[in-house]
């Protein structure tokens, strides 16, 4: 064989080796994930919730906002989880509430993740003044703890479910921005990125094909745990009357309604809270599972 052919053969073998290594690493991560009992349980529960939410009109026995004369009925054969003060079936309201909460979780995290990741990548990739400016902004956002930021944004935009989603989403921007920036800085100094630059790889292509896929993993973990958090904060906002508005069936509002009738009808506040807890636990389990699968050094 000529020299050129031998070099090409070696190149192809290296290429295949690299590809195989990456594939095995991913396969190993997936296998670790599937072996994680908590993560799998959480995943199944979450999946079930999504399915139920999507099939709400089919699964729910009653219309969630239909008023009836059967007010404050305890759980019975007719109404599995009882009725509230307007005679609305609690079980149906919980099923429809799943739609609202899951949407809140995913949309809010999506907003935070997209904006935060973009900020993080730009800050990490370009550095210098842009980096400083963006990180100062992130610090300013982090000066408002937890729900306070969501409250501030809701104060500006007014009550409502969409506004609440935006408010909660903005709260996630700092975490994603910082995480992605750290990841970007790590990746930026690796040899292959330098090599790509040397070959003349443009900025956009560099970010898209080399930097971005490597920051994806921690972002995924943060996003999953973020969904759990978003559902909690969203329900809290609705509980305060600043999120979803009546007569929408939403778990937070149901808890707020249930508060008034605690003595006479404990079921109004008991079951929506349980629903929130189960959903949040499932999301947290999946998040923990992902984190342990992708970075087993963190498990103890």
């Amino acid at each position: 064989m000529g020299v050129a052919q031998r070099v090409n053969a070696v190149d192809d073998r290296d290429d295949a080796l690299v590809r195989a290594t990456v594939q095995t690493r991913r396969a190993r991560a997936v296998r670790r994930l599937l072996r994680h009992h908590g993560g799998v349980t959480g995943g199944i529960v979450l999946l079930a919730l999504v399915v139920v939410a999507l099939l709400a009109p089919v699964v729910a026995p009653y219309n969630p906002i239909a008023i009836s004369t059967a007010i404050l009925q305890p759980p019975s054969g007719q109404h599995v989880l009882g009725t509230d003060n307007f005679g609305r079936d609690i079980f149906s309201r919980i099923i429809y509430g799943a739609r609202v909460s899951l949407r809140m979780g995913f949309v809010a995290v999506a907003i935070g993740a997209v904006i935060g990741t973009t900020m993080g990548v730009v800050a990490g990739a370009y550095g210098g003044f842009i980096d400083s400016a963006l990180m100062r902004l992130v610090d300013a956002l982090m000066a408002f703890p937890g729900i306070l930021l969501a409250l501030a944004v809701t104060a500006m935009l007014g009550p409502g479910l969409t506004n609440a989603m935006i408010a909660v989403g903005i709260g996630f921007i700092p975490s994603f921005a910082r995480l992605v920036r750290a990841s970007t800085l790590q990746v930026r100094h690796t040899t292959y990125v330098e090599a790509a630059r040397a070959v003349g790889c443009g900025d956009g292509r560099l970010i898209a094909r080399h930097i971005f896929p490597n920051v994806l993993t921690p972002v995924l973990v943060l996003a999953t745990l973020g969904v759990a958090s978003a559902i909690l904060i969203g329900a809290a906002l609705s509980f305060l009357g600043l999120g979803a508005q009546p007569p929408t069936a939403e778990w937070g509002i149901m808890l707020s309604d249930g508060r008034e009738f605690m003595r006479r009808a404990w079921w109004i506040m008991a079951f929506p809270g349980l629903a929130i807890t189960i959903t949040v636990m499932a999301a947290n389990l999946v998040g923990d599972g992902l984190r342990d699968a992708f970075d087993p050094r963190l498990t103890l």
């Binding site: 408002f144 501030a152 249930g258 506040m269 008991a270 929506p272």
Partner: protein, 305 residues
């Protein structure tokens, strides 16, 4: 050391400025005319709106307004629309109540959290460990307003041991403090466990055991003390959870405090009060974070950069 403190203080200034600007802009990022929102739907005429706008100085250029905003706030002239009291005094009047709640819950949380974490770390992979971690996991997943309602139902409605609402007496402090503590216990326990497990792997532990030191002394005198370091940082981060959780807890238990102040002001569209209270809360939070960073540098001299 003094240099480090000075440097951190200086670094805080741009963030403070940015925060105050963001809060100031809140009223302008609101869709709709701020003056009309403040006057409500009372059918004010165009002349009245213009007059109020002039009175409030809203027809001046933005940077001038920003400076006026700061000046008014600090001098105590910025008044709440509802009560006509200076915003600063409203805030300072209610701050002690929130602080009381925060401290009480912190004491409970630290005591329980450390106990649980140490227990889990010293009996790894036994039912004690799994149970504590399960409890910790649930603590983070349960919505605190639901837990508050459940506890009210159990202790106030059914058993009638503790009052459900209000503030002032220590009995009214118990339930809110417990609810607020739950989430913190979860985080503290997890961190103490991880921290102690790591400390127990160190060589000096082997030496202590080889010396013949009783196991209890090994755990308390050596492992635990060294495990304490990261917990200090956590307490600073914790303050954020405290403030954020206090908002909900105060509302559910109808306790006077900053949280209720802010939410009520938002619902009443009392913008000066909302802006002032949020700004001051953010400042408090930033100061606490700074103090935590500084204390960490005091404990571990390697951290001063």
């Amino acid at each position: 050391m003094a240099q480090y403190v000075a440097r951190r203080l200086v670094a805080m200034v741009p963030v403070l400025l940015l925060v105050s600007i963001l809060v100031f802009l809140m009223i302008y990022l609101t869709p709709g005319d701020p003056v009309q929102i403040m006057l409500g739907q009372s059918g004010a005429s165009a002349a009245q709106v213009a007059q109020v706008r002039h009175e409030l100085g809203l027809d001046r250029p933005l940077p001038v307004q920003y400076l006026k905003f700061l000046e008014n706030l600090l001098s105590g002239q910025e008044r709440s629309i509802a009560t006509q009291q200076p915003v600063v005094s409203e805030f300072l009047g209610l701050f002690p109540s929130t602080l009381q709640l925060a401290m009480a819950s912190l004491v409970i949380a630290v005591a329980l959290g450390i106990a649980l974490g140490v227990l889990a770390a010293t009996h790894p992979r036994t039912w004690v460990d799994y149970l504590s971690m399960a409890v910790s996991f649930m603590g983070v997943s349960v919505p605190n307003f639901w837990l508050a309602l459940l506890l009210i139902y159990l202790f106030a409605v059914q058993l009638n041991w503790l009052p459900a609402t209000g503030g002032g007496s220590w009995r009214q402090l118990v339930l809110p403090a417990v609810v607020l503590a739950v989430q913190q216990v979860a985080l503290i326990a997890r961190l103490v466990r991880a921290s102690m497990l790591e400390a127990l792997q160190e060589d000096y532990i082997k030496t202590a055991r080889a010396k013949g030191l009783p196991e209890r002394a090994v755990r308390l005198r050596h492992a635990f003390r060294n495990a304490l370091l990261p917990i200090v940082t956590l307490l600073g981060l914790n303050f954020g959870y405290l403030l954020s959780g206090a908002v909900i807890v105060e509302i559910v238990f109808a306790r006077p405090g900053i949280g209720r102040l802010i939410v009520d002001a938002i619902q009443a569209k009392d913008f000066p009060l909302v802006q002032g209270a949020i700004l001051m809360t953010a400042v408090v939070y930033l100061v606490v974070n700074l103090l935590t960073d500084l204390s960490y540098a005091v404990i571990d001299p390697r951290i001063r950069y």
